[in-house]
Point group: C2
Amino acid sequence: MEKVRREKWSENFSEWYNELIETAGIQDKRYPVKGMNIWLPYGLKIMRNIEKFIHSEMERTGHEEVLFPALIPETEFQKEAEHIAGFEEEVFWVTHAGHDPLDVKLILRPTSETAMYSMFSLWIRSHADLPLKIYQIVNVYRYETKHTRPLIRVREISRFFEAHTAHDSYEEAERQIREDLEIFDRLAKFLALPYIVSKRPEWDKFPGAYYSLGAEVMMPDGRTLQIGTMHNYRQNFAKAYNIQYETESGEHEYVHQTTFGMSERLLAAVIGIHGDDSGMVLPPTIAPIQVVIIPIPMKEADADVFAYAREIAEELRTAGIRVQVDERDIRPGRKYYDWELKGVPVRIEVGPKDVEGKKAVIARRDTLTKEVVERAKVVEAVRRTFDEIMENLYNRAREFLESHIKRVDTIEEAKAVFEDRRGIVEIPWCGSEECGLKMEEELDAKMLGIPYPEENARAPEGKKCPVCGREAKFIARFARTY
Amino acid sequence: MEKVRREKWSENFSEWYNELIETAGIQDKRYPVKGMNIWLPYGLKIMRNIEKFIHSEMERTGHEEVLFPALIPETEFQKEAEHIAGFEEEVFWVTHAGHDPLDVKLILRPTSETAMYSMFSLWIRSHADLPLKIYQIVNVYRYETKHTRPLIRVREISRFFEAHTAHDSYEEAERQIREDLEIFDRLAKFLALPYIVSKRPEWDKFPGAYYSLGAEVMMPDGRTLQIGTMHNYRQNFAKAYNIQYETESGEHEYVHQTTFGMSERLLAAVIGIHGDDSGMVLPPTIAPIQVVIIPIPMKEADADVFAYAREIAEELRTAGIRVQVDERDIRPGRKYYDWELKGVPVRIEVGPKDVEGKKAVIARRDTLTKEVVERAKVVEAVRRTFDEIMENLYNRAREFLESHIKRVDTIEEAKAVFEDRRGIVEIPWCGSEECGLKMEEELDAKMLGIPYPEENARAPEGKKCPVCGREAKFIARFARTY
C-alpha cells in the first residue's frame, strides 16, 4: 500500500528542490548577495549531525582539527602556478581596509592549500613529524559565474570540509587516499547514499594535483552531483612551498601530500535523492527529530491521549531517540503535512482507541505506510523501523543510480541517453585528451573520468574508441553534472 | 606545601602570555597576515569545550542557531548612521572578484547587525513571531590598528559569538538582557572566572545601541579584559531596517532588539587569569585531557606499572572522565613539564610501590601539591579534586580581582593606583560627559562605566566629582584595558 508520489520530484526537480530548501526550513535564499544564503535553524541542525559524523571519523583516523584564517595574502596564493591558474578567475579580492588600500592584497580562501602549506614547511622538520593529518570545516568563497543553487553551487560555501595530509612517500599518500575512500564510504552509508568514484581526466584535475578522484551521486533529474573529492598532489605543492623533512638517514626530501574535500553538497544529495512530492525524507541517522508523536484527541478523552503521547515520548527519549510531541492546537492533518515536509522519518499517531487498546500507530515517512504496534513494543518497533528506512532509502537510491548508468559503444547511442538528460553513459575510450574532449563536445556532457579503482576501468577486449576508431583502453563515464 | 610560582606571570605577563600561546599549543602566530592566527588542535579543543557550554545554554534558553554569510553589501551596511560611523574605519572591503570590480562592494562582517536585520524585517510579521532569539558563532573581521595580541586583539576573530533578539516591548528586551546576564554568570562559573559588569558611558556605547553593558575580568597585569557585552538597541535598528510587527489589536509597531556578544577572549581570560610560571591551569570543565596518568617504571617491574596505569585510566574513562596515559619513552620529569605547561588539571603518578600498596599519587595542577590515595578511591578522589580545583581557581581569581578594585575620592589617589598599572579605580562622578572624558585623559585610562545594576552605581551622599566639584551622582570605574 505504498502511497509515495514522486511526480514533481522527478519531472520538475529543479523547482521542487528550490521550493523545498525554503519551505522545509533549510536555508533562506533572500539574502541580498547572489549565491550567498542563510542557514536556518532546522537545516543547520541536519548539517551539524552530518558534521558530527565527520568529526568522529576524523578522530577515529587520527586527523586533528585546526582553523586557518580565511584570508590569504596574494603573495602566498601565487606560489603554485597551476593552482593560481585554476582559481584566479574565481577569487574574491580584499583590497582595502578602513579608508586605505592594503599593502598586500588578500584573497578570500577558495580552498586552503595556499594558506596552509607555508606553515607545513615550518611544522614539518623530520620523518617523526609525518604523517601530518589535519582538517577543518570552514567557509570558502568562489565567484561562480554559472547559475547558483543553494547548497550546490554557491559563492559562499559555509560548510566546506578539507583534510590535508603530508607523508614520507608516495605509497603512504596512496594509503591515505584509500583511508579517505573508506571514510567516505562509511559516511555515504550513514546518509544512505549510493555513489560512484571516478578518476578525473587530466584536463579536469584539481589545479595542482597529480591525480584527482571524484565521488558522484545521481540526482533525480539524472544529473550527477560531485559530493566528495580526493587528490594526490605528489610533491607538487611541497616543491612550491618548500615542505621538506629529514629522513632517518639524514637526507632532505619533499613530502607527498593529499587532500580530501566535501561540503554542504552532502545535504543537497540527501534532500534530492531521498525526497518525494511530500517533501524531504531524512535518514534517521541525521534527522534532528527522529520521531514526532501526534496526539489525536476526541472531545471526551483529551487528557489521556496527551498523557499517553508524552509517556511514549519519555520512553523513546530514555532510549536515546530524538523525539518531539506535537501539541499544537491545529488539525492532525496539518501536522502530518508539516512533518512530512520536514522529513521526520517516523510519525507516531495516538488516539483514544490506542490508549484504550494499549497500541500506537507507526507511520513511515519513506513509504508513507502505517503499522499498528503494541504499546509495550514501541521502542523496539521504532528502532526496527529506522533500520528498515535506512535500508529502503539506500536500496531505492541504488536502483535509481544503477538503472541510470548505461554502457554504450557509439556516440549516437550516448546521445540518445542524454536526450532526456538521464544518467551516466560509459563509452570505450582510447585515452587521448583529443578524443575525450571531442566526446564531451558531441555529447554536451562532462567526462567524469574512468572508473576507480582502475582495475574496473579497462575497456573489454575489441572495443573501439568511437571518435578515432583505435583500440579502446578505458571505459570513460560521461554525465550532465551539477 | 604550595609550590606555585607566579613571578613571570605577574611581572612580565605580556611576554608570559605570548610565549604560552605557542608553547602550550593554542595558536600559531606565524601566519603571514598581521592579527590573523592559526588555531592549533589543542587550543581548538579547549575552545570547542567552551562553545559546547554556550550551545547548551542557548538551547536551554530557547535561542536557535543560524549561519549568515560573512559578506555584507555596502548598501545594507550603510542603513544605520551611528553603526557605520562606529565601524567604517575598521572594515575590510571586498572590491573585486576574478578580474572584475564588483557592482556593489562587500564588507567582511565586523559583527552581523547589518547582515541580519533586513532579513528580520522579512521574518517578523506579527506578535506571534516574537520573541525572535537567534545566535551564531562565526568569524568576523576588524582592521585593528593597535598592537595585536592572540585571542585578545586580532583582525580575524575566528570564534565570535553573537545572539540577536527581537521583542514586542522594552520590558521584554530588558528581560532578555537579564537572561543574558544569567547565562553569562553560569558560563563565568563554568570557567571559574570572577567578573564585574559596568554600564558603559554614552561615548563608549556599541555603535547604534541605546545602552551597552560590558563584563570585565582582571588580567594578571592589572589591566581589564572585556569578555562579554549586552546591548539594548531599543527601536533604533528596527527603524533603520524597518522591522515591524502587527500587534494583537492590528497596529504596526517597531520591535525592540538586543544583542549579546562574546568571543575567543573567554579563552584568553582563562589562560591569563588561572595560569602560573609553569604554564596554563585549565578548569577541569573545559580541559581536553582532565587527567594524565604517568607510569613511573623501575627496571624490574615495568609491565605491572603500565597495566596498573591503563586499568586506572579505563576506570576513569568509564566514569566519564577525559583521561590519557602518557606512555612515551621519556623521563617522568619531562612529562610533568609538558602536561603542566598544557594545564592538565590532575596528574596521577603510579610507580611499583603504588602497584604493590594499591595506591596512586594525585597531583593538582593549580596548587602543585600531591596526595596519596587508595586505588579503590581514585575516581572519587579525582572528582573531589576537580571540585576543589574549580573552587580554588575561582576564589584565587576573586581575591585578585577584589584586591585590585580601589575606591578613591581624588584624581591624585587614582593616579597613584595606576602608577604601576594595577587595577580598577572607582571615583565619584557628576555624570557629565565633559568630566568623564577629562578624567579619562588625566588618568590615561578608560571609563568602564558605572556599576551595573544601577542600584550599586549611586555615589554615597556628600561625595563630589573631583573634576567640577559638583555633587557626584555616580561611582565611575576606570581601568587600563586590553
